[in-house]
């Protein structure tokens, strides 16, 4: 009996992925564990392994296909003794076959569950959950108001979107405009992300430029995700900003001292080399520990109060950026933070981060100091409530005891989600942060 290979869910939140590369072709024999394909998700490229052995009977989704829904049939594997005729007869094999693809460990354990549950649907080619449960009246009201029903969360039975939900969305202005060429409503699960930013259309933009004066480069998954998430953030999160100057001389001196003291292995390579950024991460984590009310995430029903400071660090990579997360940074030694950052930074650049390494987090740091930027404000990346934008450390005149002096000063700007972190609280957090930066020894005890 032929085995269906479906688009695996490589992370619990993954809804679709791009078929980046096939490592096998029709007729190839594969055994369990062989890498058969590479899937590009919004922020990472992941390998797909075969979980059964057999011969690749048919590749359904060709290489380079974008936005393949999770659980969509991507290939069919023939078992021993079956030939291509098993594929004929039109109907794709029944869905009883277990999902024939799994992701490499360690993500496998997490992602196997959602993937395994899905093929229960009668037609494997149809992505599950393509329907938004909503009442006819809710759909009509949303349509009349120009809202995307998929972006409205439902309070009816089993999350069905009902009249009152649409009325609430209209009244509060929280609804998302329906995409101009709205096809079938997107999956309800995709609600927060479904509505595309309703900017000018491609044609509207292109007609402003002379033909031939530009090239079109289609968006990849990362670009789309950045656009979607940041638009959503700026539209739904009331941002406000608090800036403070921090003197760095003590921190720079301590950094030299600590790096000089790093034990070296037999090749003379030090066990760690701390950067200012590593110390910034630690200082922010400790500040969040000290001001726990700022270590939160907003949800409509309740404030999520985090017990640890998981600090995302924006890493610029070709074509975009990604924020690997230092978990429980408040409890980690500087050397541990530094080495984790090096490892994840390198893997971010080669798009080899696992979803659980860049999803979540309670805050973030974006550092443009190395590029000479003096001061900037970053966009909060939910579920974070804050993000710290770090400028360059530079020598500036400062007034000390009524006399001018020279100090190395760095300006930082905290962007906060005002729904959960108010002005005074943001200021309190920055004060705590400044305390650690200017008295860096306190980070060590």
């Amino acid at each position: 009996m032929p085995i269906n290979i479906t688009m695996p869910a490589l992370s619990p939140t993954m809804e679709e992925g791009n078929m980046a590369k096939w490592h096998v072709k029709e007729g190839d024999k594969v055994s369990a564990g062989d890498v058969i394909a590479e899937i590009e998700t919004d922020k990472a490229t992941m390998e797909v392994e075969a979980v059964d052995e057999g011969t690749v009977g048919k590749i359904v989704i060709p290489e380079g296909t974008a936005s393949v829904k999770v659980n969509e049939l991507i290939a069919i594997l023939l078992e021993d003794g079956e030939d291509a005729s098993a594929l004929s007869g039109g109907a794709a094999p029944k869905a009883e076959a277990a999902p024939a693809a799994a992701v490499p460990a360690p993500a496998a354990a997490q992602s196997a569950a959602p993937a395994a549950a899905a093929p229960a649907g009668p037609a494997p080619v149809t992505a599950s959950g393509d329907r938004v449960f909503s009442s006819p009246l809710a759909r009509r009201l949303a349509k009349q108001a120009g809202l995307d029903i998929a972006a409205i969360s439902g309070t009816g039975p089993k999350g069905r979107v009902v009249k009152s939900d649409v009325e609430k969305a209209i009244a509060s202005g929280t609804g998302k405009a329906a995409a101009p060429a709205a096809e079938a409503p997107k999956a309800a699960a995709a609600a927060p992300a479904a509505a595309a930013p309703a900017g000018p259309s491609k044609d509207q933009v292109l007609k402003l430029f002379e033909e031939g004066s530009y090239e079109l480069e289609p968006h990849d998954g990362m670009r789309k995700t950045i656009a979607k998430r940041l638009t959503e953030s700026k539209q739904t999160i009331p941002h406000f900003y608090v800036s403070v100057d921090c003197e760095l001389d003590a921190l720079l001196a301590l950094r030299v001292q600590l790096n000089d003291a790093a034990p070296k292995d037999k090749d003379g390579k030090p066990a760690y080399k701390l950067s200012v950024n590593d110390m910034t991460i630690k200082a922010l984590a400790l500040a969040l520990r000290d001001v726990p009310d700022a270590n939160v995430s907003w949800t409509d029903d309740a404030m999520v109060k985090h017990k640890h400071a998981d600090v995302g660090v924006a890493v610029s990579i070709p074509g975009g950026l990604i924020t690997p997360i230092i978990r429980k940074a408040e409890a980690k030694a500087l050397s541990v933070i530094s080495n984790e950052m090096k490892d994840m930074g390198a893997r971010a650049k080669s798009k080899k981060l696992k979803p659980e390494e860049y999803q979540g987090g309670t805050t973030a740091v974006s550092n443009m100091g190395m590029m000479g930027v003096k001061n900037f404000a970053a966009v909060v990346n939910p579920p974070h409530a804050t993000i710290l934008a770090v400028g360059a450390g530079e020598k500036r005149p400062v007034v000390r005891n009524d006399a001018l002096a020279i100090a190395t000063v760095m300006t930082v700007t905290l962007s906060t989600d005002h729904r959960c972190v108010d002005g005074a609280l943001g200021a309190e957090l920055l004060q705590a942060f400044k305390g650690y930066i200017e008295n860096p020894m306190s980070m060590l005890v």
Partner: protein, 482 residues
Amino acid sequence: MADTNYDVLIIGSGPGGYVTAIRAAQLGLKTAIVEREHLGGICLNWGCIPTKALLRSAEIMDHANHAKSYGLTLEGKMTAKVEDVVARSRGVSARLNGGVGFLMKKNKIDVIWGEAKVTKPGEIVVGASSKPAVQPQNPVPKGVKGEGTYTAKHIIVATGARPRALPGIEPDGKLIWTYFEAMKPDFMPKSLVVMGSGAIGIEFASFYRSMGVDVTVVEVMSQVMPVEDAEISAIARKALEKRGMKILTEAKVAKVEKGSNSIKAHVETKDGKVQVIEADRLISAVGVVGNIENLGLEALGVKTDRGCIVIDGYGKTNVAGLYAIGDVAGPPMLAHKAEHEGVICIEKIAGVPNVHPMDKGKIPGCTYCNPQVASVGLTEAKAKEQGREIRVGRFSFGANGKAIALGEDNGLIKTIFDKKTGELIGAHMVGAEVTELIQGFVVAMNLETTEEDLMHTIFPHPTLSEMMKESVLDAYGKVLNA
């Protein structure tokens, strides 16, 4: 020592109380219900159910009286033996009363026999009933708990309502009846005055008229069944009058003179004239009032309004741990409203996710007179009063094949849609079996269908229900068979 502590104590075992108790038990709560008189409450002992039994006798009588029009000849005259008609009705009640007892046992709900008083939040004291039981009474169920003090985290008051009495025309149980006496007449009066034409009044008027009684209905409002759509009410009135009922609207019983075995009702009409109607009995059906007395509510400071306990959408009163549902918690005073209110209340208490508050705009109402009347949502007048732009559809029984075949070709189905959104905001019916039809529209409203979905729904042929679809089509100028 007996265990007297519960998660939930429910006072009153009417349709609201006993259904709430069952749902509570399903949710794993330790539940007891207190009843002073009869499991099932007024509804199934002295209300909804026994009157349906009486009206069934009336219906068969009506059919028999028209046998000839169906090509049938009845030898001799059809007569009603009043004691047998009443006995059947009481039998129906007794059977259901026993059924509630069984359901309590099956769901391991303790039944506490007596009258409850809330002594403090979380505690009730059950004593002897202060009200003499209406006779004939069903036997006290076996295995009930007795008088004493009981405690519970949550106390739900579901004590229902009783007939309202007008000053000077107080029911005396002999010449001036309430539904209690009207339900078990020991003789068939020759003539009756029915004061009030709400569901209770008009159902009794209809029953007694079918039994050949000379019935006069006196209503203070401008139409019979004042809560119903005016157009529907007018059709019902005409049909009732055709059956020989006398109906006086915008009229008021000012005074009742009692004779030895008859009454003289002084009825004042709008023009100020007073006519004296002589009749054997008068039925007082001028509404019901909540049973909020002797419960200790005043001492606890429970907020009440016009004889009913004030609650939020989930049955909560202003006193923590004290809830109220059903008639005692305000209108509409209907069994199915009480049941649903109770389920909402207990699910909220148990922390069931996504419990929605009561939506009073979607509670159907049914009146079982001949012809029947049923409705849900806004009347045409109410919709206009709210300033809504509407579309109205109508379809008459006279154009429906099944209705003609049944010999029931008088009636109307009326639908009201919001013009802008296509939301079904009201449905009103008069005619044969409409009390069974209305639920189709109630489901449609609850699922928030629009006219489009109703038009795409296939209704079986030949049925009375086809008129529902035709009425929807008519609202949009697409009616087929008219």
